[in-house]
Amino acid sequence: MRIVVGDPEYCVACRDCAYACAFAHGGGFDRESSRIAVSFSPEDRVCLPLTCMHCAEAWCMEVCPAAAISRDPETGAVVIHEERCAGCKMCLLACPLGAVSFDAAAGVARKCDLCGGDPACVRSCTVDVLQYCEPGEMADARRESLEAKLRAVYRKGEGGS
């Protein structure tokens, strides 16, 4: 299945994705309600886009006592059914990525649902960092990028200036 993956190598933490996610799910641009979080640590100059990985063995789904979390048969997304959510927050505790948040006003847990197969965050990533792809494709892309850098090093070693 495809998931949303972001490459921290090139992310600039513009947070366009977080605005788009908040808008897609709530009609506003309140980034607090976004289901993708981009952390930025200025001193380290590190930008980390993080969202749900839709784990093959989804602990949030397994732990949910209300059976409110299931896998979407079409997209493979692990989704929360709000009408069943009891607000117990077990899923927040279970998620190793911190990708589940709690909407205190609505009293329900929230997480990425892949927007039904056309993730708004990816469509809004003008840096071309977020991709909606098979996890293996991301690994390929990173390897190709590393190869390109190595080529540049060899080019220099072989007489390039």
Binding site: Y19, F29, D30, C47, V127, V129, S145
Partner: protein
């Protein structure tokens, strides 16, 4: 019967990226905007600003009827009556004080190219040379630098570069989809150097962030020039074949040793040498992209000239992944500079800033605003302003408001009752970019796109319709013979080798350019036909022929009363200058700009994040919420405040009385300032 929902492909114009968008319409009303995957510029990706266009066009405050001022009140009047009255008043002013007492002012909000040229055409058609625009402080500073050094502004081929240099530019906020081209280049092994006093978004993950003090970029460029020459690693063949003044500039740059560069800019020698190494390692495939950050200084154009000169040393000219000159789409030219040259009528500012007028036929807004108040060099009585908000975006807002209020006739076209429109005698509703059908070229990728024009409103005119109807009333109708925008577009396209029908059938854009190839540039469009390290033309006008480095005043003559240096104008993701602040879902997320400050400065001043600080310059004072940044996000004693907000207005602090000597650009980024906690901080 309700029409079925419809999706129309067109372009966004919330910023100059002009991304391909799919506009979803229900009953002719715009309900959603998403990226168009078929358009080659953005490939379906779209920033949050574009979505905000939905809120803009449907905004409850949108102006839909012409308004006429009566004291403090507005009267809604029919469009034809508004145009008749405006024409009559213009005729009376022209009769009394001559056509040059009338001016036009083009703003960023109406878009570039065709709309700009219609305003230029109109003002010349009625006999005045006074075309004013936001370009008195945007873009033309760099254009001037390019004209002087290379003769034209080339395409900077980011995607194919081996080293991308973003110098004073922050595309993730200013032109978001340019950033995906940087990422594509980096995935292929390109390095990225970001030159900016701030750790801007594009600098965050750059291979090298070089942070010169504001306005010292020329010293950095000359230091790099020296380093490349001394190490012998420059393109000798290009320098010998295609440049003038190399010995002079190399001789002058010799002064800029790493120690001098460090003293002037604050950049350590190791960083300078690392930047030189990354530039050299790219074998001429250096995409050097100059940004607006370089322009708002008293020494801007010479700094830009020094920076652009590096292109020749690096051998980046005419090279894939460097700077290339591709032939533009040969559209017809709407301006009348050949048919009706009016330079003898003293275009405002052309005497003091001859280069500004010569390279771009641009009058100088600060001179014009001054002239309204003083009557010198001659009275400026009337102004027709379209899509601009100088009350917030020109320097020294208080004076801007005073000057515009003193006009005998002030007509504003806009979507909203802006701070500027509120000063007008007539406010006319303008069509948004979505409602207009216009030709746009993405010269970087050689693609031309016709926008669709959707959701037209009655009594809301396009730019063409407005200038046409007013020109016809003033006896200049012969210059506006086309019936509508479609006919105009057809005329513009005639020499271009592509028909209107073809563009209409391909809303995803039509390729007119060819893929870039390495090609030796035979002749540069400069007076010498070569890259001009020195400019004889500038020398003839009384300037230095060399791009000499002049220290910013805050360094050269420090004033203890103003120990800080204020930068304004850093771009934000949500807002385009003064636009979109009236969109409630944006305003809730970002209610005011933060005064960016180094933590050590904040600590000395006893200010914490979120406190209110008072910033004072020689021009004015503003209270702003403090945003304490990390130690590497801003140098000490530097401040940054983004412009465009009415409540916390950065341009209440900027100078309309100190200019770059060549371009006439105002001082908005190296401004001497002091900061203190505002009364009742917290």
């Amino acid at each position: 019967m309700e029409a079925p929902p419809q999706t129309v492909q067109t372009l966004c114009r919330m910023c100059d990226d002009r991304c391909g968008i799919d506009v979803r319409l229900e009953d002719g009303r715009v309900v959603d905007i998403t990226g168009n995957p078929a358009h080659p510029w953005n490939l379906g990706r779209l920033c949050v600003k574009a979505r905000a266009a939905v809120d803009t066009v449907n905004h409850p405050d949108r102006l839909l009827r012409p308004l006429k001022r009566h004291g403090d009140d507005w009267e809604e009047i029919p469009l034809e009556r508004a145009l008749d009255e405006i024409a009559e008043r213009l005729r009376a002013i022209i009769e009394k004080d001559g056509a040059r007492s009338v001016s036009v002012w083009k703003g960023e909000a109406i878009g570039f190219a065709q709309q700009e040229d219609l305003a230029r055409r109109f003002i010349h058609a009625i006999g005045s040379p006074n075309y004013l625009s936001n370009d008195s402080m945007c873009w033309v500073g760099r254009f001037t630098g390019y004209k002087l050094v290379l003769g034209a502004w080339p395409n900077v081929d980011i995607e194919n570069a081996r080293c991308v240099v973003m110098w004073g530019a922050n595309p993730p906020h200013s032109r978001p989809n340019l950033t995906q081209r940087i990422t594509k280049a980096r995935r292929r092994g390109a390095t990225l150097v970001a030159v900016d006093p701030r750790l801007s978004a594009v600098a965050r993950r750059a291979d090298l962030h070089v942070a010169p003090l504001p306005g010292t970029d020329g010293a950095l460029a000359l230091g790099l020039f020296r380093e490349l020459v001394e190490s012998g690693s420059y393109d000798r063949s290009l320098v010998e074949r295609a440049t003038v003044g190399f010995d002079d500039l190399a001789g002058y740059a010799r002064e800029f040793t790493p120690d001098v560069v460090e003293r002037e800019t604050g950049i350590p020698p190791a960083t300078l040498s690392e930047m030189a190494r990354l530039l050299r390692a790219a074998d001429g495939r250096v995409a050097l992209y100059p940004g607006n950050g370089l322009e708002h200084h008293e020494n801007g154009v010479d700094n830009i000239r020094a920076i652009l000169s590096l292109n020749a040393l690096l051998g980046a000219l005419g090279k894939v992944g460097g700077s290339l000159f591709a032939p533009p789409l040969p559209l017809r030219d709407l301006t009348l500079y050949d048919e009706r040259p009016l330079a003898t009528l003293e275009p405002l500012g052309a005497d003091r800033f001859p280069v500004l007028y010569e390279v771009r036929r641009e009058c100088h807004t600060m001179t014009a605003l001054n002239g309204i108040l003083t009557g010198r060099p001659y009275p400026l009585r009337a102004m027709l302003l379209a899509g601009a908000n100088p009350a917030l975006t020109n320097p020294n807002s208080e004076k801007v408001v005073r000057a515009l209020s003193a006009l005998e006739l002030f007509v504003v076209r806009d979507l909203f009752m802006t701070e500027t429109a509120a000063l007008a005698d007539y406010v006319l509703p303008a069509a948004s970019f979505l409602e207009r059908s216009e030709i746009h070229t993405h010269h970087e990728i050689g693609v031309v796109t016709l926008t669709a024009g959707v959701g037209r409103q009655p009594e809301v005119q396009t730019e063409y319709e407005f200038w046409r109807d007013l020109a016809r009333r003033l006896g200049a109708g012969e210059y506006f013979p086309w019936e509508d925008d479609g006919e105009l577009n057809r005329w513009l396209l005639e020499p271009a080798g592509v028909t209107l029908e073809h563009l209409e059938a391909h809303p995803e854009g039509v390729v007119y350019g060819s893929p870039p190839v390495d090609a030796e540039i035979e002749r540069f469009p400069t007076p010498s036909g070569k890259v001009e390290f020195v400019s004889t033309h500038l020398a003839e006008l009384g300037y230095d022929a060399l791009p000499k480095y002049r220290r910013p005043a805050y360094i050269e003559t420090p004033d203890p009363a103003y120990p800080f240096v204020l930068m304004t104008g850093a771009r934000s993701l949500l807002f385009g200058h003064s636009r979109s602040h009236n969109i409630s879902r944006f305003a809730e997320e970002a209610p005011a700009p933060g005064l960016e400050m180094h933590p050590d400065d904040a600590s000395v001043l006893g200010l914490a994040d979120g406190d209110t600080a008072r910033v004072t310059t020689r021009i004015g004072s503003v209270d702003a919420p403090v945003r304490v940044v990390a130690t590497n996000e801003l140098p000490r004693h530097c401040l940054q405040l983004t412009h465009g907000w009415a409540g916390v207005n950065a341009n209440a602090l900027t100078h309309d009385d100190r200019f770059d000597r060549i371009s006439g650009f105002p001082l908005m980024k190296s401004v001497e300032a002091r900061v203190e906690p505002a009364g009742g901080a917290g």
